[in-house]
Structures are given as C-alpha cells and as structure tokens.
C-alpha cells in the first residue's frame, strides 16, 4: 500500500513537472484562469496547434492563416493594418489584438463575445470577412491531407479528425504564448534598473493608468471605456452588442500594454498609429460619459510627462517572446505535399 502511494506521488510529480515544462506561471503573475485539467498540455498537441495556426488550409481560399492577421513579429497582432484584412481582402470591423498571456483571460474579442479560449478559433474560421470557412469543411480538408491525420494520431491517439480535437490543439498552442520577459520584468526581479525617465513614467503610469491596465498583466480583464469618441461610420457599440445593457455601450476589453511598441496601430479600430497620439487622447481627448466611473475627464499631463510614460511603456517589450523559435512557423508544414498547400 505504501509503495503504491509513493508510486502515485511520483507519477503525479512527474506529470506536474512535465506540464511545467510546457507552461509556467511567471513569478508575480496570478493563477491562470484557464482550466488545464480539461485540456492538459501535451507537446504533440501544442505542435499540432502550431501547425494549424500557421496553415492557410483553415481558410476557404487557402490563403489566410491565423498568422496572416496575428504575426509573430508583432507579438501576434496585425502588422500595420488598422482594420484586419481577411479573405479576398475583405476588411473587418476591428483591429486584430496581440496574442499572449491568454491563459489569464476569460473573455475574448474586444466585446467579449467569446467566453472560452477553446472556442475562439471558430470565430475567425467561420467569419465571412476573415477565413470564410466552416469547421466541418476545414475538418474534411485536414482529413484529406497526408500530414494531418498522423499529427492528430500523435496528439490525440485518433486519426479521425474532430472539431473538439482541432479546437483543443489550437487553444494549446495559444496557451503557450506567454510573455513575461521584458525590461520591466527584469527590474521587478532586480536584474535591471529603470532610467530616471522610465522611473518617472512608471510612477505616472501607476497613478493614472493602473486602474485599467493593471500590473502584472497590464489589463484588469474588464470592459471599460477610455473615452474615445465613437466612430460614426463603424458604429461599434462594444460590449453592449453582447450584453444588450445600455451601461456597456462603448466599453471594450482593456488590452494589455505588454509589447505595445510592436502592436500598432492602437485601439479596437486601430485609429492611432503612434503612442504619442494615444497619450494625446488621454491628456486631452476624453469624451465624458455618464456611465463611466473611471476616467471621467482627460488626465492633465505635461509634455515631458507624456514622453516619460512612453519611455516606461517601451520597457514592456519582450523580444525573447517575439523571437522564440517555439512560436515561429513550424518546420512540419514544409513537409506538406506541395499539392496540398
């Protein structure tokens, strides 16, 4: 009996340390909200998810992959485009957000329309302006390749491709995208120091911005309004479209500011190209709104203070995240039969 218990102990220890290899909660981060017990990480599943993420087979015209809009070199945000471009160059309604630290989110999209990371990929796959396909058709295409049935077998022990396995694999890859290695993190770990300017920017940030862009994730995970005047053409009501509650009008998911240097253009509609413009908005462009508790009016910031805040924001860049080979285009996709590409 004792032996058995010891064995069980050892087994669970091994399992845990194996998981820790694939995913680690960075020091100082809260516990992830994603329930890993329902979809335990596994290297073959992550690898499959990575292949799916980079493979345009997920789109109807076989030209658009997740990475077309979420580029690894922009912390998985969309390069340059204000509104994301999808299939047949159709322009979506919103700017593609950066993808990292998703294990700490329980609502996805600017309005929180998606309530679980597992089902997130369904939205772009089926959206007529994005990848324009259906899950059933994507599965049929994957099943007909020479590559994928064996990858699914390795990952799930089943060559028969299902929607569940496809979505779980993509979610696993997304979960591994953890970014917590910026200069800011090094400073917290006492491995680096801020310049005076960065330090001053940090203080101002904590004073004016932290209530929404809360450390260490730099988002409080809530839906807030930061006083942007609504775009009369796009008519995007944000969170209200989902909850149908008036007080949610013009509220959007608070984006993390990690890697902000690379995730331009900014805001849900990509209206600002530069951080300077963002600071201009916070210090002079806030629209007042009765439903808001935070940010009732513009924040009085002097020009040098804006520059200092930007200097601080640039310490949130994590180059080791963006150039991590584990997140890059996977070699297995090169093994695909060229006819299937």
């Amino acid at each position: 009996m004792r032996k058995q218990i010891a064995f069980l102990f050892l087994l669970s220890f091994l399992l845990l340390s194996y998981q820790a290899d694939l995913f680690q909660t960075p020091a100082g981060f809260p516990k992830p909200v994603y329930d890993f017990t329902k979809n335990p990480l596994d290297s073959a599943k992550i690898e499959l998810g990575r292949a799916l993420f980079y493979d345009p087979i997920l789109s109807h015209n076989l030209k658009i992959s997740c990475a077309s809009c979420h580029s690894p070199y922009n912390a998985f945000a969309h390069v340059d485009h204000a509104l994301s471009h999808g299939i047949d160059d159709r322009i979506g309604k919103r700017n593609a957000p950066a993808l990292f630290n998703l294990a700490w989110h329980n609502r996805f999209m600017w309005d929180g329309a998606i309530h679980h990371l597992d089902v997130q990929a369904l939205a772009p796959m089926s959206h007529p302006d994005e990848m324009g396909d259906t899950l059933a058709h994507v599965i049929a295409k994957l099943q007909a390749t020479t590559l994928y049935p064996s990858l699914y077998e390795k990952a799930f022990g089943d060559r028969n491709i299902t929607g569940e396995h496809t979505l779980k694999a993509i979610a696993q890859f997304l979960l591994t995208l953890v970014s917590a290695n910026s200069k800011y993190d090094s400073v917290l770990r006492h491995q680096a120091t801020f310049t005076d300017q960065e330090n001053n920017g940090y203080k101002l940030f904590q004073q004016h911005c932290s209530s929404c862009h809360t450390e260490p994730l730099f988002t409080n995970g809530e839906f807030e309004s930061n006083g942007l005047p609504p775009d009369t053409f796009l008519q995007d009501k944000g969170r209200m479209a989902i909850t149908h509650r008036k007080e949610d009008s013009l509220r959007f998911k608070v984006p993390s500011l990690r890697n902000i240097e690379f995730t331009f253009p900014y805001m849900h509609d990509g209206r600002f190209k530069q951080l300077r413009e963002v600071l201009q908005h916070y210090s002079g462009g806030i629209q007042t709104d009765v439903h808001r508790d935070k940010l009732q009016r513009s924040i009085p910031l002097k020009d040098n203070e804006k520059v200092d805040i930007i200097a601080f924001l640039l310490t949130l860049s994590d180059r080791s995240f963006m150039f991590n080979p584990k997140f890059a285009y996977p070699k297995i996709l090169f093994q695909k039969d060229p006819q299937e590409k």
Binding site: D35, K38, N39, A113, I114, H115, H116, L117, D118, V119, L122, A123, M125, S126, H127, L135, A136, I139, T162, G163, E164, H165, L167, K168, A171, I242, H244
Partner: protein, 237 residues
C-alpha cells in the same frame, strides 16, 4: 451520449466488467426515452417538399434539431436516477437520434421524467467538448460563444423575408437571456417512454412578420424557449 454515437470498445468492456462485478443487471439501454416531433399528430420529417397547413399558412420545415440534457427520473419529488454525461443532440431527420437509450437499473420505480432543453451554463463555460457537443455539429454559434439549444428552419408564407425563409436559432444561457428550460412530466413506470413535441403548437408563437430570423440570444429567444417548454407531452403509457 446519444444512442447512435459510437461507444469506444474500452468503455464498453469496462461497463461489462462493472456489471459482472456488481452482479446487477446494469445493461446498456435498459430503458428507452423516445421523442416524436409532430405536426397535427403526424411525424415531422424535415425536407424540401412536405407542406404543412396551419391557419391558412403553408409552410415547409427543412431543419429541426435540439439538445436534451440532464435526463433524470423522480419518485415523489426525489431524484431516483440521473444519467451521467447526459447530453443528446436530437435531429428530426435522423430517427435514431430521437431514441435515447438510458442505462437505468432494472428495478427503477419513478413517477416523473425530467430533462433540460439546451445546455446548462456550467457546461457552456467549460471549454470545447466532443461527440454530440462538438461544435462541428452546427449547433454552436461561432461569432458569439454558446450552443444553439433549438433550431428550426424552413419556408413559410407568413415570413416577411423575400425568400419566405424562417430561421429560429434559440440559445443564450446567461441571465436575463437564459433559454435553458427544465421540463418535468408525470409518467407511469414503463420501459419505453414516448414523448411528443408538438410543433403546430409552437408555430403561432413564431412571429414571422416581425422576426423571421432569430439568430442570437435576446428577449425573443427567451419567449420562444418558454413556449417550446410547453409543447412536450407524454404519449405512452
């Protein structure tokens, strides 16, 4: 899971072993719960040709699917048996999907059957699932997370759409737009329970002029779900 779904050989073997061990007659499909979608007492088989007449309206039903979950039996108000992992997708075009085989113990005595129309909120927020709950079944909204609990589509003279189509996708699981309905029916103790689902009683509640297409959670979906709750009836015994 549903009758037509494939039970893996492992699970079957495990169950057989369990039967032997326990010495009870725990058999697969000890009891049958069967649903009959009907229109004026006639079976509804969705297709592109059968026409139904209701109060001067001619209509066709092209698709009719719904989720039944959390099946259980009660005796004098107390639950005496409940199905594990109880999620079933019923599709009126697939008669086998309308027959739920339940692994009830032999000597079960009950006076009520209870089930849920739709998928409860804790399942909904638990991540992606397989078989009947696999989003590939087409009963999952893609742009906004959540299962479609009940789906009926067709053509009707009453529809204000140019092509006279109607589409009712009833879903939503969060207050106040919750469309998950619990249905409770008094029944006699029997091995084969047959329940009717009378679509002709539901149709007058579908406002095809103002809302020929309901495709998202909201007040209209809630109103319809309350009506759907009332169209289930006990046929036998």
């Amino acid at each position: 899971m549903a009758f037509h779904s494939i039970i893996s050989a492992h699970r079957l073997r495990f169950k057989m072993l369990l039967c032997l061990l326990l010495g009870y007659g725990l058999q697969s499909g000890a009891m049958i719960l069967q649903f009959h979608p009907r229109f004026h007492q006639q079976t509804v088989l969705p297709n592109d040709s059968t026409r139904y007449i209701l109060q001067g309206d001619t209509l066709m039903i092209q698709s009719l699917k719904w989720y039944i979950s959390s099946v259980c039996f009660l005796k004098q108000g107390h639950v005496v048996w409940q199905e594990d992992n109880s999620y079933h997708l019923l599709d009126a075009t697939k008669p086998t999907s309308l027959i739920l085989a339940l692994n009830t113990p032999d000597a079960l005595s009950f006076d009520q059957v209870q089930f849920v129309l739709g998928i409860d909120s804790s399942t909904q927020s638990g991540g992606v699932m397989g078989v009947d709950l696999d989003p590939v079944q087409g009963m999952y909204w893609t742009w906004q997370s959540g299962y479609i609990h009940f789906k009926m589509e067709g053509i009707s003279n009453r529809s204000s759409e140019r092509d006279h189509s109607f589409q009712y996708h009833v879903g939503g699981y969060q207050y106040p737009e919750n469309t998950v309905q619990t249905i409770n029916l008094p029944v006699m103790n029997a091995k084969h329970l047959q329940l009717a689902m009378d679509i002709d009683e539901l149709l007058p509640s579908m406002d095809m002029k103002a809302h020929p297409h309901i495709m998202s959670p909201g007040v209209e979906a809630v109103r319809l779900s309350e009506k759907i709750k009332s169209i289930f009836k006990v046929l036998t015994p």
